[in-house]
Symmetry: D2
């Protein structure tokens, strides 16, 4: 019996996850069989077209009607819709994959994490960049001590789609719907990678900034207020003593999807950039400079699953790996990470950055 997937959301993330599900059999034949069962949305006509294209068997306009029927629930809706359907699924014992950030605020995220703890089924917060082979390789190197004690983490995520003050308003720019702006959308990814690669954050100070306060609606007839940040920065101390600096912007002219991570340890350093995601730059102990490594070898993470060395993967492959790991955990009843606890931990850091910005003070996360 294949796992019946119910998926709320059918736009950008819906396509990314549906594609991942469709590709599993050919490249991960050991993954559990999956049925794209029901696609959930409100606009019936658009939904029907999407279900057809994305290969779902049926549709539903209310998640309440189907959330208990499916074997796995994917919550890919706007951030303010993450909590209620996910909690309902978990209460019905249905494993849930939820897009990031886990919720629009840390209160909702905490309720979700509580529901996950009570449910005893795998949950996933969809921090897909953990599943870039180069990032997994970075994690292996750090775990193996190749970088020594970590002194510095530096992460930034740069986009430029809002630099035009006439770029239209969308739900992502509304604090009630999205929670935050660049902070939650982009910063959440960076913070998750920081936790994955370096560990928990002990204290931080944060700064949010909005460059444009109102924008035209998509139809251009009126303007609406922007209530989220356009950019954020943060400086942190990790529990292990490392320093961290963080930054994201939607105003970084010339950068489309530039998520860059740099780590310096006592023995080595590494660098990663999402726009060249097949590469990891590593300065190993004894080396005189960074090696530019193409992480596509047979024995690299997921390397043997795809193509010969040097035949590069794309952004979407991270979703295939993520779905493979999550669905395998669902089928086996195994632990999965990053789960809702991880999502909550990130959310608390996002909240601390906002609090620090408002109060103009450093925030202690360990108390």
């Amino acid at each position: 019996m294949p796992l019946a997937v119910g998926m709320l959301g059918y736009r950008f993330m819906g396509r990314a996850h549906a594609n991942a599900l469709a590709r599993l059999p050919m490249f991960f034949p050991d993954a559990p069989a999956v049925e794209r069962d029901v696609l959930i949305g409100r606009d019936e006509q658009a939904l029907a077209g999407a279900a057809d294209q994305l290969g779902f068997a049926r549709t539903a306009t209310d998640w309440r009607d189907v959330v208990e029927e499916v074997d796995v629930f994917y919550n890919l809706g706007p951030n303010h819709l993450h909590a209620e359907p996910s909690i309902a699924a978990l209460e019905a014992g249905v494993p849930v994959l939820c897009e990031k950030p886990l919720a629009a605020d840390d209160e909702a995220a905490a309720r979700m994490a509580d529901a996950a703890a009570a449910a005893d089924v795998p949950t996933a917060t969809a921090f897909n960049y953990r599943f870039v082979p180069a990032i997994q390789y970075a994690r292996e190197l750090i775990e193996a001590g190749e970088l020594g004690e970590i002194h510095h983490f530096r992460g930034r995520y740069l986009q430029d789609w809002l630099v035009d003050p006439e770029a239209p308003w969308s739900w992502r720019l509304d604090a009630d719907l999205a929670g935050s702006g660049a902070l939650g959308d982009l910063g959440a990814h960076t913070i998750d990678l920081a936790r994955y690669l370096v560990g928990d954050i002990a204290e931080l100070s944060g700064h949010l900034h909005r460059f444009v306060d109102e924008r035209p609606t998509p139809d251009g007839d009126e303007t609406r207020e922007v209530t989220v940040d356009d950019a954020y920065s943060a400086q942190a101390t990790f529990a292990n003593g490392a320093m961290g600096t963080f930054e994201a912007s939607r105003f970084a002219t010339g950068h489309k999807n530039d998520h860059t991570i740099e780590i310096h340890g006592s023995k080595g350093s590494l660098r990663f950039g999402l726009e060249r995601l097949n590469e990891l730059e590593v300065k190993f102990e004894g080396d005189r400079g960074y090696q530019t490594i193409l992480v596509t070898d047979e024995d690299d993470p997921y390397g043997g699953r795809w193509w010969p060395p040097g035949h590069v993967l794309g952004w979407e492959h991270t979703f295939v790996h993520e779905n493979y790991e999550f669905l395998s955990a669902v089928a086996e009843g195994d632990e999965y990470e990053p789960n809702f606890q991880d999502g909550l931990a990130v959310q608390r850091i996002l909240a601390a950055i906002e609090e620090s910005d408002e109060q103009g003070q450093r925030v202690d996360l360990e108390s």
Copy 2:
């Protein structure tokens, strides 16, 4: 009625094309419907497993049994098996996509091109790198005159899988089975891109080299003679007066799949590298340096088909684009390029390089 595809070959190229076929409906819904009908190979057990994984309905151990039944024939076998099945398919009026190089020698390639001309159905020589968005963008720039008159083409394709003298013998190292070595396997791609971007070659001198003359068989019990080149170089004059230099090697330590193209014109220049295939570097007229361009925008070639700007594609996407274009031509009865005439033109250049190497003389290709 979906187009029934018969596919000879189920290893590396079989996976690449089967994956492309599987992905068309979700991302190219305007592509003709396709049925993965019959997979063809000699080893029944391996074939059955492959058909299952690659999603084929049935298998055949002799291409003769099925080549006339299918709507499209994909010939992905070793080079010396390109001619006979392809010609049989064409004689039955079946469109054929054949992997590159078109044949093991130019005589066989000429027979294939003749059969294609007689058949009046689309043919494809599978030079998939024409379908990298950055390459199509490069072609658009050149066609639009953005580079001015072309003065220089420089192409090299570097791999290193043979640098270890104990790397095992395979059919790719046998002149009877493969035709040539780095020249046909790698150089054919470079030469096709040169023709696509700059035009036909008028004269050239070539040089082939073999560093290791015999290698152990895969089981290690004996050695077999290597009868192809490990590396080649060529220097050419194009019909339009541009200079060209070409090189490929399987002994380029540290390079996995490094296919690099550089073009200088009177107004601008461009550079492309396959390991960073989402990027094109372009020096436009009036610019002070090369722009590093991420060719992933909505209006870039195939850009709107996939993901938002900056969400990079992989190597395999070239096959999706190639299959989309070829199958659309099949469905519509349109012209398709690169076809068997293009494959023959490349083959004649490969032959001229070999001839020049043997005779120590420049070869005129226009006579």
Copy 3:
């Protein structure tokens, strides 16, 4: 009559400035004539050797003996020795070039700036990176509005000479002698460039960190306490509304002298790195990516003074340019920047970063 230069300090910075003076006649024949008159230091023997090698006519072991005799005074001593000799020179009406940071603390810096204001002679704080041609070109672009309104400044300065916990103690690691560590030594450069390219800082929060608390003395017999920071970070808002992030470390394994500046504006962006100081990456309005520009053309800053395009300059050339500009101002009685007021402005920012770190609060610099 050549300008007689008195120079306090004959090690790293002494060599850099003496070399600059020596090179002026051949490449800047319009510079005022200069006599390397007196070299000042305490160790008579070392001083004599240095004066010989650096081309000084005589030596002095007490700056008091000569500071009023010379036409220009160069103060290249440790930071805690910047104030007294510089003020004495200024009180004697002698123009002063002082190495950066201007002083060990902002109180001393303020006294120096006051003395400069009272003296009515040119002063220089030796922020030599303003004199990299690529930085001057960046400034020209920004002044001309090519980047539009500036939204982001990002600066970091990475070195790794302290990552080994056994690296020996030196005066640079003592708060009384140096004032601060990475903050004043490296951060001062970044902050000066931020002021030069973007403008004044309105508020900031800062963070200092020390990884190693004591180190062996150079002779290895004992250990001494490290009382300065090994690394700092800061996040700031500029008076014009731009966001800024700053970082420096002496623990960034694999980085020798990696001073990187990135700026994003509403119309364009730019990037600069000191280890490739001949290059500026610029994303102009209408461009699809960053141009990698070699700033060595005839009409680039100082371009016509040296070699043909593409014949790159080195780190030391920044000193030649700096000395040319400063000495020309001295000879002409012109204004010079960056002067002691600029040095004080930077010092106040350094102090604000320390204050913010101590108090865990954002600091307002405009009040």
Copy 4:
């Protein structure tokens, strides 16, 4: 008694060598003392100004008048003037440094080499790129076997100052004065590095091309014929079995002084580019990618002579190193390389490339 230098030529190369001489005392105090004695040229007025700026004690308008008086003779004139004055100096027992290529043709070069052999004093052909620290480091790595057996050498030298068909005629474009174009001016450097790093060439085929046949004179009143090549390419086999490809152009739009060298061996590979001359990229055995190495450490070639690690050098430093080595050899009576024999060896390769181009045949250099 300082060595009295007589220098023929005071433009680009005159400045480069005069600067080198001027800088020796401060950075290479162990170099022999040198007196910039006499500067030689035909235009008295320009010569006097140059002597003043370059620091020469006196001038001469006929080299015959002074060539026997000086201790060292620098021949920096046009290529067709290399032979006669150099031979005269050697016949007088005066050591000679001559700019590259050694002569306008191989017959003249052979006479010069004969004179050098007869004179028993050091000679230098001024292939200054041997004295880039990164190139010397590359040589050390190869000599130490770090790259294993060399399989491939690839060198190209790209400039673009002639791509405009209205760029003015100069002596460099006249075969009688210059010998050849891009081949001798740029290719000579590449070929010298190939010999330095890999060894002698056994056979080659070459190709020359001219894109523009006549150009306006500098005053613009008339046009003059261009009689040299605008670009060349060559493919070669080294005596040790390595393959080599060579290319240079003055029509490579966007490239100012881009001299790039790539070498692949059985154990490792390396890359060097002149516009980033402080860096060497090396793929060592066991590494997963190229290390980007900043060759500025204390124990790198000439590293301890200049600045701390990461404080980069420029193009002109190659001349300082070259002059240091040559003058030390003169003072000590030691051997020096590259000498006139090396210059002749390069000249013979240049001639072989021309011969191959004319005859359309491969040329054997060992017979």
